[in-house]
């Protein structure tokens, strides 16, 4: 069976790896922010708890989720990428990532900014699955918005 076109999405094993072994799922001692997102159409869900160092720096993240491989991988990759960022930086990353995911597939992606999130960029080959990659980011925005 020729599966090359399937590898477009689950390529480099990154998505499958993060789906099977999601990072940052251990409970954290304490948290300052929390956020959730649910897609009622497929039942997928994502929850984040975020612990800050000082007023603004993200130090600890706990990711919990349920759903498809892309949703789980997105939550796991996100949890890695926001650690160490300030709230403003995380917020900017989220806005830029969501924008990139919604761009057409031909548009070049700034590799420097995207870093290890690039595995998720291939999901753009599958327009109906983009929302699976974005659910975690809604949960992040929900968490960040609770910071007054």
């Amino acid at each position: 069976m020729d599966l090359s076109s399937i590898d477009d999405i689950y390529r480099d094993r990154v998505i499958l790896d993060h789906c099977r072994n999601p990072r940052n799922v251990s409970p954290i001692e304490s948290y300052d922010l929390s956020g959730d997102a649910v897609n009622p159409f497929c039942g997928d869900e994502v929850h984040f708890q975020i612990g800050l160092s000082g007023e603004h720096q993200i130090e600890r993240v706990q990711f919990a989720g349920d759903g498809c491989a892309i949703n789980m991988a997105s939550g796991s990759l996100l949890s890695e990428s926001v650690k160490g960022l300030t709230i403003d930086e995380a917020s900017a990353l989220s806005i830029r990532f969501v924008e990139t995911m919604r761009q057409s597939i031909d548009q070049d992606v700034d590799q420097e900014f995207i870093g290890e999130l690039s595995a998720l960029i291939s999901v753009r080959h599958f327009p109906v699955r983009i929302k699976c990659a974005l659910l975690a980011w809604s949960a992040l925005e929900d968490a960040l918005s609770t910071k007054d």
């Binding site: 076109s5 399937i6 390529r11 497929c42 039942g43």
Partner: protein, 413 residues
């Protein structure tokens, strides 16, 4: 002779390729594909007969009216209705069901009355009753379902009471494939004076339907699942009930006489058909009925039973560790619908994988959220067959699912 390969030649879309693979269309419970004859009927209407119906004295209008009413006759005979006056055109099964909930329900359902449903209803045969019950302070009850996806008929007698005004049941479940014993339900309902409504959206396209034999009071179905175009459906109602029902929508076409103060209603069935109807799609649905009649609905059912038995066997024997296949094991009480859960692979990942090898299946809750939740999952994958599907396509599906499970377990080769 039911020759699937010959039938397939009538369906232009079945030669399409998806990502370079032949399309294996297994989403027939969502909508069926259309044969050339139905597509041609639409074109022929717009090229040769397009005019509004039931008005002009000009030739074109009369020709359009004749074809439009002829289509109603065809649909009426297809379900063995006593008269084509009892067949009302709607947009789809959902509109048919809403028509009953408003036109019949508003008048006949009162506070404390009971409506009996099954747990396997599509949202279209659940939400209109929830809303009606809310407006009327009526009560909705459910016939329990057994482990194998069939109704617990032993409980029906006690659940239908003096307070029951309506039993509304899906004939064939779109999520499980279960074919429910409608005749038996109708008998029990009528014993205590309740009406019975049948949601035939999945059954009318796939098996012979006889409203007199079923003795149902209402039958709702859609055209697009039975080779017809989208946007056309029908509702059958027993004459004495239909006569007593108030109009659903009002306006043009459905009136007899109108003054500035009031109006009187046209005769059946037009009383329930306000506005310019969906003429083209009704006529094309008539062509779909011709097509199905030429094959014979008994043969269609036999083909699907054969496919169902084959698919059940293939699913059982394949190396599909952990795969849960829902619904009855017996092809005699099951249509060609296969919902399954693969614990290690989410339905959406499976659906994407299968799409990439040309297989179209549905993933999600199939517009039966409470049912799918009761199976203990958030979503399932569903393959559903029709008269043009082949055993080879069952093989492609089962092999595809097997390969997907391996891919998500072991990763890309």
């Amino acid at each position: 002779m039911f020759d699937v390969e010959k039938i397939r030649l009538d369906f232009p879309i079945l030669t399409k390729e998806i990502f370079g693979k032949p399309l294996v269309y297994l989403d027939n419970a969502a909508t069926s594909q259309k044969p050339r004859q139905v597509i041609d009927a639409l074109v022929e209407y717009y090229e040769n007969f397009n005019a509004n119906v039931h008005r002009g004295v000009h030739t074109l209008s009369m020709e359009a009216t004749d074809r439009y009413e002829e289509a109603r006759e065809k649909v009426s005979s297809f379900i063995n209705s006593e008269s084509s006056d009892l067949v009302i055109w709607t947009r789809n099964a959902s509109e048919s069901l809403n028509l009953v909930a408003y036109s019949w329900g508003e008048k006949n359902v009162h506070e404390g009355d009971e409506i009996l449903l099954t747990p396997m209803e599509h949202h279209s045969n659940l939400v209109p009753w929830q809303e009606l019950a809310r407006r009327k302070n009526a009560v909705i009850k459910f016939i329990p379902m057994l482990e194998n996806g069939t109704l617990d008929m032993d409980r029906v007698k006690e659940l239908i009471t003096e307070r029951t005004v309506l039993v509304s049941a899906v004939h064939m479940s779109n999520a499980l494939g279960t074919i429910n014993p409608i005749k038996e339900l109708a008998e029990e309902a009528h014993k205590l004076g309740a009406k019975i409504l049948v949601d035939g959206a999945q059954s009318v396209p796939h098996m012979p339907t006889d409203v007199q034999e079923l003795n149902c009071d209402f039958l709702a179905f859609s055209g697009h699942k039975m080779l017809g175009p989208t946007g056309i459906g029908a509702l059958y109602v027993k004459e004495e009930i239909l006569e007593s029902m108030e109009p659903f929508l009002t306006g043009g076409e459905m009136v007899l006489e109108v003054s500035y103060e009031k109006a009187s209603w046209a005769d059946l069935p037009m009383k329930f058909e306000a506005g310019t109807p969906n003429i083209a799609d009704s006529i094309a649905l008539g062509s779909a009925v011709d097509y199905l009649n030429a094959l014979g609905m008994g043969n269609v059912r036999e083909h699907e039973k054969d496919m169902t038995a084959y698919a059940l066997d293939r699913f059982r024997k394949a190396d599909l560790e952990g795969l849960d296949l829902f619904g009855p094991d017996d092809p005699n009480i099951r249509g060609g619908v296969f919902s399954f859960n693969t614990p290690d692979v989410h339905p959406h990942d499976l659906g994407t994988f299968l799409d990439r090898i040309g297989i179209a299946v549905r993933t999600g809750h199939h517009c039966a959220m409470p049912l799918v939740r009761s199976l203990g999952v958030a979503a399932t994958s569903r393959a559903s067959f029709y008269l043009y599907n082949t055993k080879k396509e069952v093989d492609i599906l089962v092999d595809g699912v097997t390969e997907a499970l391996r891919y998500f377990r072991d990763g890309p080769k």
